[in-house]
Amino acid sequence: MEVIAFYIFALLAIVTSLLVVGQRNPMHSVMLLIASFGALAGLYVLLDAPFTAVTQIIIYAGAIMVLFLFVVMLLNLPREEPAPPAIAGRARPAGLKIAAVLSLLLAAELVWALSRIGLGWFAQDPAAASVSSVTRIGSRLFAQDGYAFAFEATSILILVAMIGAVVLARKEH
């Protein structure tokens, strides 16, 4: 049962991701990416991480992707424009080939490397190995020697992003 679910979600994630990069319409890409995130959320559930799955849907799919969608609609760009003739004539086919080769190589390398590490089986005793507890996550996140500093550092990160977004995107005055 779990194996079947894994394959379904994995296939879904791969196919939607491929479609994201294969789409000419950015709007469709965003939508497909949301689907891909959904598949990943499913995998998170399988990995005993329901809280992360929920966050994935709410924050990633719900907030970040909507931001993308918003910009796509703001700029009113339904379709990718054709390549400029100068580039379409000369550089593109070779560039595409190189790109494809490089990505395939990277994929091959990663798969080969990761398949060499030996099958790691997850612990079977759910009581001992449960990582689904929100309490555990919460107390670890805010513990002094846990992720408290990372949490605070994130606040600066968001502040910087906020200032940056405002100063870059606002109209000249």
């Binding site: 194996v3 894994f6 994995a10 994630a13 791969i14 991701s17 994201v20 990069v21 950015p26 890409s29 965003v30 990416l33 990943l40 995998l43 998170y44 990995l47 991480a49 992360t52 990633y60 907030a63 970040i64 931001l67 993308f68 796509v72 700029l75 760009l77 990718e80 424009e81 390549a83 400029p84 580039i87 560039g95 595409l96 190189i98 790109a99 490089l102 395939l104 990277l106 994929a107 990663l110 798969v111 990761l114 099958l119 790691g120 089986w121 997850f122 612990a123 190995a129 990582v131 507890s133 555990r136 996550i137 670890r140 990372a150 994130t154 968001i158 910087v160 977004a165 870059l168 995107a169």
Partner: protein, 100 residues
């Protein structure tokens, strides 16, 4: 049961798909979406490894990655808008004034 390296291989494949998007797409927004795919692939590794080691740290790191992704998306989209203002296009090939 599904072993850990199935998840790791899946994440590797997703990561590679993300990288290919950078070359294939001639739209800056889609290129940014490819980066999101890559970050999600990494997230999958974190969660899977966390589950394998029996620690919640993997999930917690995921939250930080999401935050970073959000911050990057905000700045990146602001830059996209700024670029679009200068030149009414989002093709990466259009922005080659700085070179050599």
């Amino acid at each position: 049961m599904v072993p850990l390296n199935y998840y790791l291989i899946l994440s590797g494949i997703l990561f590679a798909i993300g990288t290919s998007g950078v070359f294939l797409r001639r739209n800056l927004i889609t290129v940014m979406l490819s980066i999101e795919i890559m970050l999600n692939a990494v997230n999958l590794t974190f969660v899977a490894v966390g589950r394998y080691l029996g620690t919640v740290d993997g999930q917690i790191i995921t939250f930080f990655v999401m935050t970073v992704a959000a911050a990057e998306a905000a700045v990146g989209l602001a830059l996209v808008i700024a670029l679009f203002r200068h030149r009414e296009t989002l093709s990466p090939d259009a922005f080659t004034a700085l070179k050599w």
